[in-house]
Each structure stands twice: as structure tokens, then as C-alpha cells.
């Protein structure tokens, strides 16, 4: 039986661009170029490697986001994913992690899955909790923050490097996995892959298709509210000296003046 892998990816504003908040205090997605979140490339890569190891597997890449988010799907398809699902509905705008995870969970269930793979966090929201929430919502094991992952005989195993210990984990499929940036370099799409991606199916879904009411998502349906978002004042220009042989001593003087030594 085919191993059905669903990879959750996010279309995010480029971190090297001038990221900011829009007037409604949601992430501004108009004035900054977007792309497939770098940390999700690792998830796509591991999905492809697991699929290559399996006798028969299908990799579906899933995103929730506006029209432009298709670019993220296209990138994942050109890396080698088989098909894509795009949930795009204007009522979703402004959803927090609880609302977004609801949409993702319903779309994953509709797609059908044995394994869900996500990145360790998004590069814009940076919460890092979505995979755990998906596992809770789907009612399947959570095998998260893996630096190594393997799927064999209906089981997922992996290594999780925590703050105080490194752990080896094991769970039965179906399961939700997340992988870190230590899991292995993501491949670049080949020219052939880019051409092939253009012919791969992208299924478009709206909230109605997932039996989700508009009031369960978006700014109104979210369970958190951002009241203010202010640009951090630029740090006041510091003192910069050129080392003419006294740099180490000058630095020590500074640290002493600030009572660090």
C-alpha cells in the first residue's frame, strides 16, 4: 500500500527583505517578496528521501495562504513532490496558529495521510508549535524536532536533540513529524524538476470544501489578538574603535566602565 506523505509548508516574507506589519497588524505580505520558508525546505527534503526509500509513496505538499502562496507549492513540486493542495480563502486572512492549524488538520484529513512532515518553525511567526498542535488535533503521535528521521515497517524513528539530552524516538504511523535544519541539506530543483512541476496537479480548496465556518478562522476566529506592533527603535550608535594594538585593553576598559568586570 502506498505511503501517503503530506508536507505542510508556509509561504513567508523573505527574511532578508524589509518585513513589517500591515495596518490590521497582520504580517504584511504585499510589500515584501515571499518564498517557501527556508525551514520547510528541510521538511520537503526528508519527505522526498522517505518516499525514495519506500516501495510506493506519494508526497503531497500542502499550504494555507493567499494566491501568491502557490509559489511555495511550485518550489516544493519542482524539488520533487508529486502533487499539491492549496487552501486559499479570503476569510482565512489574519488567522493565528489555532485557526491555521484547524484548516491544515482538516485539509490533511481530506487528503488522506500516513505521515505528516513539517519544518521546525516558520521563519516569520517562529512559534515552532504547529506540528505539536497538528498531532493533538489529528489524534496521532507527535515525533517532532528531529535531526534524523527514518520510516520503516510502519514505524517512524528519529533523533531529537533537546536542551538537556539527545533522545531517540519511535512511534507507529500515522504520525506527525517535524524536522530541524540539522536533518540534511535540501536539494535544489533541477531544470527537469522545474519543467515537470508545471504539469503537476495543484488542488485548490476553500473553507466550504473543508466544512469550516468563516467565523472559526481569520482575525475574528483567532484566539489571540495583537494590540500593538511597533518598530523597535534603532539602537543608538555605539563607539567603534580601530585596533591599533590597544583594542583589547580599550574593550576591557569599556566592559569595566559598564561594570561587567
Amino acid at each position: 500500500m502506498s505511503l501517503r506523505i503530506v508536507v505542510c509548508v508556509k509561504y513567508v516574507p523573505d527574511a532578508t527583505g524589509d518585513r513589517k506589519f500591515a495596518d490590521d497588524l497582520t504580517v504584511d505580505r504585499e510589500d515584501v517578496d515571499g518564498l517557501l520558508s527556508e525551514l520547510d525546505e528541510y521538511a520537503v527534503e526528508q519527505a522526498l528521501q522517505i518516499a525514495e526509500e519506500a516501495d510506493d509513496a506519494e508526497v503531497t505538499v500542502l499550504t494555507v495562504g493567499p494566491e501568491d502562496a502557490r509559489d511555495a507549492l511550485r518550489k516544493a513540486l519542482s524539488m520533487g513532490a508529486d502533487k499539491a493542495v492549496h487552501v486559499d480563502d479570503e476569510d482565512i486572512h489574519g488567522s493565528d496558529v489555532m485557526a491555521t492549524s484547524l484548516v491544515l488538520a482538516k485539509a490533511i484529513e481530506k487528503t488522506g495521510y500516513d505521515l505528516v512532515i513539517a519544518g521546525m518553525a516558520s521563519t516569520d511567526g517562529t512559534m515552532g508549535v504547529l506540528p505539536a498542535i497538528l498531532a493533538e488535533r489529528l489524534g496521532v503521535p507527535q515525533v517532532t524536532l528531529l535531526s534524523e528521521v527514518k520510516v520503516e515497517d510502519g514505524k517512524v524513528t528519529g533523533r531529537r536533540d533537546g536542551d538537556t539530552a539527545s533522545e531517540t524516538l519511535e512511534a507507529s504511523l500515522p504520525a506527525v513529524v517535524s524536522v530541524t535544519d540539522q536533518s540534511g541539506e535540501a536539494r535544489y530543483p533541477s531544470f527537469k524538476g522545474i519543467m515537470a512541476a508545471k504539469k503537476k496537479p495543484v488542488e485548490e480548496l476553500e473553507l466550504d470544501d473543508l466544512d469550516i465556518d468563516a467565523d472559526e478562522v481569520g482575525l475574528e476566529g483567532s484566539w489571540t489578538a495583537v494590540d500593538t506592533a511597533d518598530e523597535r527603535p534603532a539602537r543608538t550608535a555605539g563607539t567603534i574603535v580601530k585596533d591599533e594594538g590597544e583594542g583589547g585593553k580599550q574593550l576591557a576598559e569599556y566592559l569595566a566602565s559598564q561594570k561587567f568586570i
Binding site: A15, D124, D161, A165, T168, S172, V226, R232, G247
Partner: protein
């Protein structure tokens, strides 16, 4: 006064510093009730009481160590149901965030992660967060259910505030999902004798300019003279010069110490995301144009191998 549930991060009964910081924040919005789970849970009570915990709910069971995350969620949920708190605070470790998030789903509450400050507000606790590599500061609140908020280390001072710290056994029954992910092996991280990176008051980090694993001895020597933690940029970690567990930046640890010293680090956005909220920033870099100098309170344009060893000597000499 409303009770605030505080999840305790501890290792075999030794409470980690961020939990004590949480007690300081919890006292701003109510009366802290601590929840300590696993081996040594009851041993946490004395120090938690000294820092304001009126009650310490404890549970010990093999499941907490043998299975990932979910048994702790079951226990925290049991505590939530027993206490009916006004808010739940959890330290922002990777595991802490996952526990908090799953609890929030179960109790139908919103979640805020990585708060750097917390204050009482008319509509519940208001959390301050840093966004977009700390170029923005936001204030948010949970608008549905009981606020579940995770707080980053170094977000509040540790304050003595003696309270009863009465130990109470917490009854926990594990659900079907609790045993879903088995921990088949655990290797404790080897202790370096240095402070934990995210908790340290001073962090000394090395980057591409360190140019080799063996040269990190220069960074470590300065760190040890200051009693600091050692960090590394992604470039240094990707080159294999220093372990990933010490990486500071977007995909590593995010630190907010009193003093951050960057040596041989250019200051790319990926790195800035993890250190920009440090109180005082100092850099040593050969390249006068390096973006790190835009952030510094004090910068030295020069070779780190000239500057850092002299600084280390000076620190040692001044400390006598």
C-alpha cells in the same frame, strides 16, 4: 486573588532559572501555583516556595520520561482542571512550547509563545514579544479561553518572595495518546561547566572569523574568564567548528543576555534574529563594514586573535 499555573522546568529536582523568572511574572498577575512533574518533582518545592509559589502540585510517573511530551500535557491539564487558574505560564523551551500548545488546544484557549515581558491588563495578561528578528515589538493577549503563555529566559529578574510552597500530590490519569511516542534512548548532554546558553548573563560567540574548531579555544577562554556561555554563528556551526546546540540565531537559540560579545561574526539577519534583544552588544571584527557594527554599543575593528586574548588577560587581571 486568582491563581496562575506555572509549569516547572527542572532536572531531577533542580529547578532551572527560567522557571524562577516565571514566578516573578506570575506574581504580577496573581498567585503562583507550580506544577512539577517527573523524577525529583517534590524536591523542587523549597526553592519554588522561596520564590513565591503558594502550592506545588507534583506527580511522579515513569511515563514522563519514557514517552514524549503528551504525558506532561495530560498532567498539566489535570492541574488546570484542579486549579481553574486565570492563566498558565510555561518556560519557552522547545518542549515547554509543545506542552503549552497542546494544552491550549485541549482547553480551547489561545496561546502566545516567546513572550519577553508580561503585565496585567484590563482584558487579561498582556504579553510583549519581539517579531521579525527583533525589529518589531508587539503587545498581544489571548482573546479566548484561559491565556496560555510561554516566556523566554531572561525576561524577568529572579526575586525572593517567600510563600508556603506546600506540596500537594496531583492525580493524573494518562490518555490513550500519552504512550504514542516512545523514548527508546536518552543521552544526557555532556556538561561543559559553563552556564546554559539561553540563561547566561553573558554570552561570548564566535563566527566565521574564528576559522577552525581548534581556534574556538580563544572564544572559550574569554567566556570562562567572564563566567559566560559560549555561542556560535550558523557559519561556524555549519563548518563543523562548534556544536549545533550552541548556535545563536534564527535556527538555533535565541538569547537575551546582559552582555553579548560577538567575535568574528558579520551579523547576518539569521544571527541577529537570535541576539538582537541583548542589553549590551560588543563586537570584534576585521571588517569595518560588517553589519554587526550597526548593533553594537562598543565595537573594535581588528583581528579577533589580537584583541580577544588581550581582553581575556585584562579580565583575568582585573578579577585578580
Amino acid at each position: 486573588m486568582a491563581e496562575i499555573l506555572v509549569y516547572v522546568d527542572h532536572v531531577d529536582g533542580a529547578v532551572r532559572k527560567p522557571t524562577l523568572e516565571l514566578l516573578t511574572l506570575a506574581r504580577r498577575i496573581g498567585e503562583p501555583v507550580a506544577v512539577a512533574l517527573g523524577n525529583g518533582a517534590a524536591d523542587t518545592a523549597a526553592v519554588l516556595g522561596e520564590h513565591g509559589a503558594t502550592r506545588v502540585l507534583t506527580a511522579e510517573a515513569a511515563e514522563f520520561a519514557d514517552y514524549l511530551v503528551v504525558p506532561k500535557v495530560d498532567a498539566l491539564q489535570a492541574a488546570y482542571e484542579a486549579v481553574s487558574p486565570a492563566a498558565v505560564l510555561v518556560p519557552s523551551s522547545a518542549e515547554g512550547k509543545e506542552i503549552a500548545a497542546r494544552l491550549a488546544v485541549r482547553i480551547g484557549s489561545g496561546i502566545i509563545t516567546d513572550a519577553v515581558d508580561l503585565e496585567a491588563g484590563a482584558e487579561g495578561p498582556v504579553a510583549t514579544q519581539s517579531a521579525f528578528a527583533a525589529s518589531y515589538t508587539t503587545k498581544s493577549r489571548v482573546s479566548k479561553g484561559t491565556p496560555v503563555i510561554t516566556v523566554k529566559p531572561n525576561s524577568a529578574p529572579v526575586e525572593a518572595a517567600p510563600a508556603a510552597g506546600a506540596v500537594e500530590a496531583l492525580a493524573v490519569s494518562f490518555g490513550e495518546l500519552a504512550t504514542g511516542t516512545k523514548v527508546t534512548a536518552r543521552t544526557p548532554r555532556e556538561s561543559t561547566g559553563r552556564p546554559e546558553l539561553t540563561e547566561a548573563a553573558i554570552v561570548v560567540s564566535g563566527g566565521r572569523g574564528v576559522n577552525g574548531a581548534e581556534n574556538f579555544a580563544v572564544i572559550e577562554a574569554l567566556a570562562d574568564s567572564l563566567g559566560a556561555a559560549v555561542g556560535a554563528s550558523r557559519a561556524a556551526v555549519d563548518a563543523g567548528w562548534y556544536p549545533h546546540s550552541n548556535q545563536v540565531g534564527q535556527t538555533g537559540k535565541s538569547v537575551s543576555p546582559q552582555l553579548y560579545i560577538a567575535a568574528g561574526i558579520s551579523g547576518a539577519i539569521q544571527h541577529r534574529a537570535g541576539m538582537q534583544t541583548s542589553k549590551t552588544i560588543v563586537a570584534v571584527n576585521k571588517d569595518a563594514e560588517a553589519p554587526i557594527f550597526d548593533l553594537v554599543d562598543y565595537g573594535v575593528v581588528g583581528d579577533l586573535f589580537d584583541v580577544v586574548p588581550v581582553l581575556t588577560q585584562e579580565v583575568q587581571a582585573r578579577k585578580g
